[in-house]
């Protein structure tokens, strides 16, 4: 006889359940205090920046599930638009070629991260910390520290990446579509595909995964490349939206992104990961930043709430895990 727990029990046992409840509470509390929270204008505001950070968080979820993380995403987010716009503004290449070159450079940075981690067996914390400084330093050096103005261009790339879309009264950018697309693809890979099983196994127990013939190193290198490329994509999208490529942009994003991922229920040390959870985690942090300003809490107090959420969620996840392992 199959032992079946009720639908509700299974729902509650899911790693995404806690974050989901928190998100609902957040929305209800903010809306009760300030009706403007769910106004079309504010939703449009939220949808402008959220996908940019969110796309990095999606990639980071995959990488962290495989047991690694990447601190250089914020600096890649800053450098790649600088490369693209510099190539275009100096007339060296068309915008499309500049875009491809920037993505290729990002892929190389990801590959270098992966190579150091898998071949030289250096912890990803140290490798990507070093890479963060190299990449940020490069961005500052190329630009002398000044933002690259975005020159006018009628390239279709701008519309494809950041075109404005209006649904009802809500106006948002094409980046939302990209975010949904990436979330769907990566969610599918992680839960349904053979590659997903390899990613989970690489993060859960690399030694035994390798003993089963899983190509752990290639999997990890691939995910480092994915993370770097999506960070570059997000950075370019952001630079188009705000019409400038600032060599300092993206500073500190790495930690906010990692916070989003772990709040959603992905394990910091690998083996367990959820794209759905990350999407919820992204919304929790972005709504919090937006909401506490709307309800009149000083914006500078934002980090207090973020820190408290991280601690609370970690406590919840560890409690769920212990209960789960106890076999109940």
């Amino acid at each position: 006889m199959e032992q079946r727990s009720s639908f509700l029990q299974r729902l509650v046992a899911r790693a995404e359940f806690g974050p989901f409840v928190l998100l609902m509470v957040e929305i209800i509390v903010f809306t009760l205090i300030n009706q403007a929270f769910l106004s079309p204008g504010n939703i449009g505001n939220l949808l402008a920046f959220t996908p940019e950070l969110g796309i990095i968080a999606l990639a980071m979820t995959m990488l962290m599930t495989a047991g690694e993380f990447d601190l250089s995403v914020g600096s890649v987010f800053g450098l790649m638009p600088v490369i693209m716009w510099t190539l275009y503004n100096t007339g060296a290449t068309s915008l499309e070629i500049g875009f491809l070159i920037a993505i290729a450079v990002a892929a190389f940075i990801g590959f270098a991260n992966g190579w150091f981690v898998t071949k030289l067996k250096i912890p990803s914390f140290l490798v990507t910390l070093g890479m963060l400084l190299v990449v940020r330093g490069t961005a500052l050096y190329i630009t002398d520290g000044f933002p690259q103005a975005r020159w006018s261009s009628d390239s279709p790339l701008l519309k494809i990446l950041v075109g404005e879309i209006t649904v009802g009264q809500v106006r948002f950018y094409a980046s939302v579509i990209w975010f949904i697309l990436f979330a769907a693809i990566l969610g599918y890979i992680l839960t349904q595909s053979k590659l997903g099983n390899w990613i989970l196994a690489s993060g859960g127990n690399a030694v035994s995964a390798r003993a089963r013939g899983v190509r752990v190193s290639s999997t990890k290198v691939g995910l480092f490349i994915l993370t770097s490329v999506l960070a570059a994509f997000a950075g370019i999208v952001s630079s188009i939206r705000v019409s400038t490529a600032n060599p300092n942009s993206g500073t500190g994003y790495e930690l906010e992104v990692i916070a989003m991922v772990v709040i959603g229920g992905t394990a910091l040390n690998g083996g367990r990961g959820t794209i759905v959870g990350t999407v919820i985690g992204i919304l929790i942090l972005r709504l919090m930043r937006n909401g506490i300003v709307l309800i009149g809490v000083p914006g500078l107090a934002y980090n207090i709430f973020i820190g408290a959420i991280i601690l609370g969620m970690m406590a919840l996840h560890s409690w769920l895990e212990r209960r789960h392992n106890a076999g109940t």
Partner: protein, 252 residues
């Protein structure tokens, strides 16, 4: 010999200047459980690692079904029908039973580019397999390994080795850290594996466990094979211990 599954001939292994194995000959027959015994440092692990592809011999040949094979890595070993179950049973504890059983050889469905695992087929096959290795308790195949007991984990590891038609299953200390009942279970799984046509190499520190389950005992000492055909039914634990240590313990 027609009955022969694996033959290792004149195997030498040097680690720098240390001779870990010297001129070792070792065979496993079809449908046979061989107990490989020896003290710490006798060379058991080295020999097994060579067979499972984790190490390369400095010299010597390996034959399967009388054909010479080269085992350069784990995948070569698996391709030749050799499965190794290590001490810690090497499962990914966060993953489900079914995902562990098929790790590295996940069945796919649908178009290839979708890379989609056939999870229904995996779960169904996993349910059957864990029943075959004697887990009678009703455990859904989607249960993560972390929720299983030590004995159940070994059973899953054995089920994994049995499922891919592997001809030779190497069990490295499968009864370590197990309780009495769980040990009993594992010994039963090993017998079940033999009865369904697999050969096994059984390595254990606990000679009593070895005695209960194997058809033949071989003993290594200081990198050499010192006995290769002891019938456990015609000897005693004490006598085998003497062979292992190379001392006449009774006289001490």
């Amino acid at each position: 010999m027609a009955n022969e599954l694996v033959r290792m001939e004149h195997i030498n292994k040097l680690f720098g200047r240390v001779q870990a194995l010297s001129d070792v000959n070792f065979t496993v027959n079809k449908n046979e459980i061989v107990g490989l015994l020896g003290d710490n440092g006798a060379g058991k692990s080295t020999l097994i690692k060579i067979l499972s592809g984790a190490l390369q011999p400095s010299s010597g040949d390996i034959y399967m079904h009388d054909k010479r094979v080269t085992i350069r890595n784990t995948n070569d070993a698996i391709a030749n029908g050799i499965e190794t179950i290590y001490q810690d049973s090497a499962l990914v504890t966060q993953l489900s039973i079914a995902r562990n059983l098929f790790l590295g050889r996940e069945p796919l469905k649908g178009p290839r580019w979708l890379n989609r695992m056939d999870q229904d087929a995996m779960n169904e096959a996993a349910s059957k397999l864990i029943r075959r290795v004697g887990i009678t308790k009703n455990i859904p195949p989607t249960t993560p390994i972390s929720a299983l007991s030590g004995g159940e984990r070994q059973a899953v590891a054995i089920a994994r080795a049995m499922q891919f038609q592997s001809e030779l299953i190497i069990l490295d200390e499968p009864t370590n850290n197990l309780g009495v009942e769980e040990t009993h279970g594992v010994l039963n799984f090993v017998r079940a594996a033999r009865d369904s046509g697999h050969s096994c190499i059984f390595i254990a520190h606990n000679i009593y466990h070895v005695f209960q389950v194997v058809d033949r005992i071989v003993v290594m000492r200081r990198g050499k094979m010192v006995a290769d055909n002891i019938n456990p039914k015609e000897t005693t634990v004490e006598k085998v211990e003497e062979v292992i240590t190379g001392m006449n313990l009774a006289a001490m």
